[in-house]
């Protein structure tokens, strides 16, 4: 009865194994005995707490800016330019280190904008704000891409009907457009949060690695790996667990009832 061709199961299983086995291997590799000590060290707790705060902030910022951006890209015909869309997609494809470099050239103390801000006494680089900016920079495009695709896929016919029923653009957005793309909005938000949570290269380059201020969980893992690989694995699993919890918690909101 399934409409999936029978031959598709084999590559699908291989694909699933390729992406899941390494993670399972990681989980299998942790040393359960030392786990509590490893995970409750002040450094680990600081890193976890910082990661949660910055990822949440980056996600909120991404929603505030990314939802309107996706909406404009999908619904304003004039903006439907390859150039703009490409620029918005770029952070997805930049190596994080390059992303960090790019942020430094803009917002670093000697950066184009950073030098102006420096004169005003505002110093962004190597602060917690820099972490949030780096995370937003790399993570927001996830939201924009998944939302824009969904907006195009659902089309604007229902929005048209709602407008003829007297709904203003704001009401249409709130009561028609966003509910229609809710699954994409939720999964985009989850991806954004998760990507922000895992952000490493851009943070390291743009924000540095200072316990409690800019050393997020991935940076702590990187650092631990140099001296204590077991601790690094344990922290990685902690990160995996946080990501899984977020994905699982968001799941019911994604299903279109």
């Amino acid at each position: 009865m399934s409409r999936v061709p029978a031959w598709a199961y084999l590559p699908a299983a291989l694909g699933a194994l390729l992406v899941t086995l390494p993670v399972l291997g990681l989980v299998a590799a942790i040393d359960l005995g030392s786990l509590p000590t490893l995970l409750t060290s002040p450094a680990a707790l600081d890193a976890l707490w910082l990661s949660l705060r910055t990822s949440t902030a980056a996600t909120v910022l991404s929603l505030l800016l990314g939802v309107p951006l996706a909406l404009c890209l999908a619904r304003v015909p004039r903006l439907d330019s390859t150039l703009l869309r490409t620029l918005v997609l770029l952070p997805l494809v930049l190596p994080p280190v390059v992303a960090g470099l790019a942020l430094l050239t803009l917002l670093g103390r000697r950066g184009l904008l950073g030098s102006q801000l420096d004169a005003l006494g505002v110093d962004i680089a190597f602060s917690t704000a820099a972490v949030v900016i780096a995370q937003t920079f790399v993570a927001m495009p996830f939201l924009v891409v998944s939302l824009e695709g969904a907006l195009r896929a659902v089309g604007d016919r229902h929005e048209g009907v709602a407008a003829t029923l007297g709904a203003s653009p704001g009401v249409v957005l709130r009561r028609v457009t966003l509910p229609l793309v809710r699954p994409a909005l939720v999964s985009g938000t989850v991806l954004t949060f998760a990507r922000a949570l895992g952000e490493f290269g851009a943070t390291l380059t743009f924000a540095g690695s200072l316990q409690g201020t800019t050393r997020t969980l991935p940076l702590e893992i990187y650092l631990q790996r140099e001296t204590d690989p077991d601790a690094a694995v344990a922290l990685s699993v902690l990160l995996v667990v946080v990501a899984v919890v977020v994905i699982v918690l968001a799941r019911p909101w994604q299903v279109r009832r």
């Binding site: 430094l104 190597f126 790996r225």
Partner: protein
């Protein structure tokens, strides 16, 4: 931390290889001064130098080689001339038990190392340059399977058993049970020096100087003593 008025935070950037002694020295300073918190950031020396040049708020910098520190000093960001705090030498790291039976630098050459996976630092970074010098002195051409950007990446690969051997700092193998060291004789070995400097951007110049002095100070339990305990040699 850092919310109370009487609390001062001192930020110290240090080469990754200095991690253990620096953590102890930071605790020493905190013990001496109530309300002072020392925050440490460890990374590759070049990385740290770039951060300082880009305006990272930091009070003290300790790097793993002099040219890197010179970049910071030349930019006028060092408060006074940098002082050497320690030197380091190279060694061959292998997985525990040395399964590939590496005995000397000769065994790492391309004519011997057919099925030996050797990992070194890239020649562009300090530890890679040092490895290169060792190989040249021994008259060996290295055939690594990977040239890493940081010594810690070499250490990690050997410790994980992914590589059969790596050329690293002596201090990297000290006190680790997941690494064995094959000594490189003095006639082939090379020395690298670690300079430290207080930074001009510091909000607590006094304290920054004090920390620098602590690192270079003589005597067991402080500066050099801590460094020596971790395997570093005096400059």
């Amino acid at each position: 931390a850092g919310c109370a008025d009487d609390e001062t935070t001192l930020t110290v950037l240090a080469a990754a290889s200095l991690r253990e002694p620096m953590e102890q020295l930071a605790a020493d300073l905190e013990a001496e001064h109530d309300g002072v918190e020392v925050r440490l950031s460890f990374a590759g020396s070049s990385e740290l130098a770039s951060q300082v040049l880009q305006g990272a708020p930091a009070d003290v910098l300790v790097t793993a080689d002099e040219p890197t520190m010179a970049r910071v000093a030349d930019a006028g960001l060092a408060d006074g001339a940098p002082e050497l705090v320690a030197t380091n030498r190279m060694t061959i790291a292998t997985p525990p038990g040395n399964p590939s039976e590496v005995e000397s630098v000769d065994d790492l050459g391309e004519d011997h190392g057919g099925d030996l996976d050797l990992v070194v630092c890239a020649p562009q970074v300090p530890c890679g340059a040092a490895a290169q010098r060792v190989a040249e002195t021994a008259g060996v051409t290295l055939a690594p399977v990977s040239e890493e950007s940081k010594v810690t990446d070499v250490v990690a690969k050997v410790a994980a058993g992914e590589a059969d051997a790596g050329i690293v700092y002596v201090t990297d193998t000290a006190g680790r049970d997941d690494l064995d060291a094959v000594e490189i004789p003095d006639r082939l070995n090379t020395t690298t020096a670690y300079p430290a400097a207080a930074l001009t951007g510091s909000a607590h110049p006094e304290l920054a100087r004090e920390m620098t002095d602590l690192v270079v100070a003589d005597g067991a339990g402080e500066g050099r003593g801590r460094l020596a305990a971790a395997g570093f040699e005096a400059p």
